[in-house]
Amino acid sequence: MPEEFKLITKNLDQPGFTPDIGCYQRHGGYEALRKALSTAARDLPDGKKQSPQEVIRDEVLKSGLRGRGGAGFSAGLKWSFVDRRSGKPIYLICNADESEPGTFKDRQILHRDPHQLIEGMIISCWANDVKLAYIYIRGEMPIAARRLNQALAEARAAGFLGKNILGTGYDLEIHVHRGAGAYICGEETGLIESLEGKRPYPRIKPPYFPAVLGLYLCPTIVNNVETLCHVRHIVTLGGAEYAKLGTPNNTGTRIVSLSGDVQRPGYYEIEVGKVTLGELIQHPNFGGGLRPGRQLKAIIPGGSSSKVLKAGEKFQLKRKGPDGQMTSVETALLDLPYDFDSLQQAGTMSGSSAIIVLDDSRSMVATLGNLSEFYAHESCGQCTPCREGALWMEKALHRLNHGEGRKSDADYLLHIAQNIQGRTICAFGEAASWPVLSFVKKFRDEFESKGAADESARAANPARPQH
């Protein structure tokens, strides 16, 4: 039976669990930190020695942990790219800007279990020789920011933070920085600019890879809230043991934000790949099915920027057979295991693990209009294709949604979106164009018939102002 697996949400879901340090410690809090700080150096079979910090970094690599912020990049690999020879300080930033529409997982941790994040951060900082770290938190989460500051003060008072942490001689400070309310501040280099006090214009890569030229042009690690929490559990379990959770290459657990037309919207923590999209939507342990009498129309599987999946779609998934050979397995939409690789092979992504379910009462034209309003509003406007294209798509969709559509608007929209993706400074270009590309391609008839209907209505009533 598909079930939740509570690793990150274990404590915060317990009745009576409070965000203060006392409660956290009664639930085993900061034990992982003690364990990490007392890690012994390790001799490797090849005769090399690993420092205690390298041991932890190695465990994170072995755990297979992939970033929970959106791109799903290996956390251990990201840490291995950090330039440790530059002589400059290394910074760590926790990305708590959670703003992707449909996503509401990090906020559970920030509001209800801030110490879990702080413990994960302290371990991550120690393992990466970081002396100064930041939590960049979305401006619209003032209560979480207050709780974080409170928790940081508690951790400092308890000797987990500040000078000479737990008598080890290790110093670390963590500051909370509140954003001013812009989605683009979640993009890691936009975030860094914002943290530096500038307009959050994402940086060009090359040359500004955060691992080399990040905050104040120093090597910098940016990780999502949930990613950093997992580090704590990797230390507790050990990398190899953690890797047994989930499925190969898609290890551990993940908090899924489920919203839209389901009976039981909410966040659910699952072992990655152990639960299918269908189960997440229909099983009574999760979404509990659609509203009575409704049919599934579409699923936005990984935050609003992921490409939409259409009910009834089938995909060819590559699977390793028992003989080790790769084979192609036809998989129906609802049978897609909810993990990084399966969704990628289905031509979309698990992104921020936010599933938005659309039933047959929804207009795809109206839904896309809503999404594109968001992207037009949130484009930072730095680079030409996204700046001009995001608003252009929004205007076209607004027209189409207000009786001024044309049958040709479907192609018009594709033309605009195709000229954005892959040509911009940051991945917002994809975020803004993928919904348009996928909605129009998969629901072309709906867009065309809406446009055609508008055209006939205008033709029948030529007195109306023309577009």
Partner: protein, 575 residues
């Protein structure tokens, strides 16, 4: 230090240049692995630099060789490929033995080419760049289409028309009709960014050149962007606060007609302007400039690139310091003052003859010469010849202000080093002026020749001038000294003649004539030559080139440089 003139400021021994082989549109070329970035530091060569070496145009808006790279316009996107690597990290070969090239594609859509911005992407060995491919062309078209959808397209009333990159690229790379059927975004028009700059936000393509220049070159973080996305708008941090001494460079940098000079806007269509290579005379930096003039009226100065002097910039004060050239009260007549205080307009020949006669009677030591360090080196050379004939005391007048960290120097004379090297002035300029004043007071100095200065401002008052037997003055605008002259010889602004200046760092630079002099006025070197020939009875070369070469032969610091060898960017002389 040797006396050999060079064309570069500090000739360092060139390090061995490591080269990379790449292909541009199928043609193999070798390019240096490292090339200078905007600050002149060696950095990995970019695709754009490589394409420039290959002679392949890569259109661009935000990139400027003297500004930090922004990578925001996306106009320079190019399709490219890199050698395919096998699992053994060795290049995969085609049947014919050439390396197989993996063209860059979108990772999530392997059939679609992925461009890279040429301005910021370093080249790598074996890379192939396709600035001429259909995919590259399509990316350019798309960027242009995006730039134009919200553009007002008001070229007929835009000052930039004729030198607008949006116009040029649209013709070369754009498509004839736009698909855009929505209403355009409207933004503020005719905004006073600062006292000298007017902004049309609708024309702005948000390339941030102006912002980067102001912040990273001028050191004034005055400009930024407000609002979001397509509503982005350039603004000064406070209304009208864009007011450093370099703001007008942003007008040159702006690829479109968004930033205009309050001074120049609506005055003249740029294609009517005649362009003349010259230098700024407002301080000893000697920024290289282009004078834009039409029918003997100067309409603007613009900086001219010279890495040894001013990079691509000039200060606002220097740029706007041209109006006096056309002032109505310019001295236009050769005049002789009579004993009763009246004066007559006389022909040049009469003036030269009479001055020659008066000077011929002068005893050695009774003549002094004050020559401005704004005169050309050739003029100073002739004045020195004249002075030598009488053993005259000579000097110039120092002119100082505050230096800044970019271009403006404390020495506000354009040719102090010219005055020193010709022997007119001393290391400490003006040190002999009191001696001249005293000489006049005591009666030992009876004749004074003044070129280009109002000596009444420098310790030689009208009372002293009144004691002189002969006062010969040449100048451009009237002042108390010209009023006291027995012979007044109208001279030329630098824009009205040719000549050279030697800047504060010893850069010898020449400038050419843009406009005709006013009235009787003639280039000083011409009538000085007549005077010197008459007074010294020595032959003096009749052309400016000849005169310069003669001077160069007599001044070892010039290292034998010829007029023709000065070129458009000048040469270094020893100072």
């Amino acid at each position: 230090m040797s006396n050999v003139a060079t064309t570069a400021p500090a000739p360092a021994a060139p390090p061995p240049v490591e080269k990379l082989k790449i292909k541009v549109d199928g043609r193999e070329i070798e390019v240096p692995k490292l090339m200078p970035d905007w600050q002149g530091r060696l950095q990995p060569t970019t695709m754009l630099q490589a394409c420039q070496i290959a002679g392949a145009e890569v259109p661009h808006y935000c990139y400027h060789p003297k500004l930090p790279v922004a990578g925001n316009c996306r106009m320079c996107l190019v399709e490219f490929g890199t050698p395919m690597m096998g699992p053994d990290r060795k290049p995969v070969l085609n049947p014919d033995g050439t390396p197989k090239i993996a063209k860059s594609v979108l990772p999530y859509e392997p059939g679609t080419p992925r461009g890279a911005i040429a301005c910021a992407t370093p080249i790598s060995p074996g890379m192939e760049i396709y600035p001429g491919s259909a995919a590259t062309q399509q990316m350019r078209e798309a960027v242009l289409e995006s730039l134009l959808i919200n553009h007002p397209l008001d070229c007929p009333i835009c000052d930039q028309a004729g030198e607008c990159k949006l116009q040029e690229y649209s013709v070369e790379h754009g498509q004839a009709n736009s698909r855009f059927v929505e209403t355009k975004v409207h933004k503020p028009k005719a905004v006073d960014l600062g006292p000298r700059i007017v902004l049309d936000d609708e024309r702005c393509i948000l390339c941030t050149r102006c912002i980067r220049f102001s912040r990273d070159i001028a050191g004034d973080d005055a400009l930024g962007i407000v609002n979001r996305g397509s509503y982005n708008t350039i603004a000064a941090w406070k209304e009208g606060a864009f007011d450093n001494n370099y703001t007008l460079n942003t007008v040159d940098l702006c690829p479109v007609g968004a930033l205009t000079s309050r001074d120049f806007r609506f005055k003249m269509r740029v294609w009517f302007l005649k362009e003349t290579r010259s230098v700024c005379t407002s301080c000893s930096t000697g920024c290289n400039i282009t004078i834009g003039s039409r029918e003997d009226v100067i309409h603007r100065y613009e900086p001219r690139d010279n890495d040894a002097v001013n990079a691509a910039w000039m200060c606002d004060a220097g740029r706007l310091n041209y109006k006096w050239v056309g002032r109505p009260d310019r001295l236009k007549e050769v005049r002789r003052r009579n004993a009763d205080g009246t004066s007559d307009r006389i022909p040049w020949e009469t003036a030269i003859r009479e001055i020659t006669a008066r000077l011929s009677n002068a005893v050695s030591g009774s003549v002094a010469v004050v020559a401005s360090a704004r005169q050309t080196t050739e003029e100073l050379h002739l004045l020195k010849k004249l002075a030598n004939r009488f053993g005259a005391i000579t000097d110039s007048v120092p002119r100082t202000g505050e230096a800044d960290r970019l271009l403006v120097s404390a020495d506000r004379n354009p040719n102090s080093n010219g005055a020193r090297l010709t022997g007119i002035a001393y290391t400490e300029m003006g040190i002999r002026l009191p001696e001249i004043a005293e000489g006049i007071r005591s009666g030992s100095i009876r004749t004074l020749v003044v070129f280009g200065e109002d000596v009444t401002q420098h310790g030689i008052g009208a009372d002293l001038l009144a004691r002189l037997e002969t006062l010969v003055v040449s100048d451009i605008l009237p002042n108390p000294t010209t009023a006291a002259a027995h012979y007044l010889l109208p001279g030329c602004a630098h824009a009205e003649k040719r000549g050279t200046y030697i800047n504060g760092k010893g850069r010898l630079q020449r400038f050419l004539k843009a406009v005709e002099p006013h009235g009787d006025a003639r280039p000083e070197w011409e009538f000085l030559r007549e005077l010197v020939t008459a007074v010294t009875a020595q032959a003096v070369p009749a052309t400016l080139e000849g005169l310069f070469n003669e001077m160069s032969d007599g001044i070892p610091a010039f290292g034998g440089v010829r007029w023709a060898g000065i070129g458009d960017l000048g040469v270094n002389v020893t100072i």
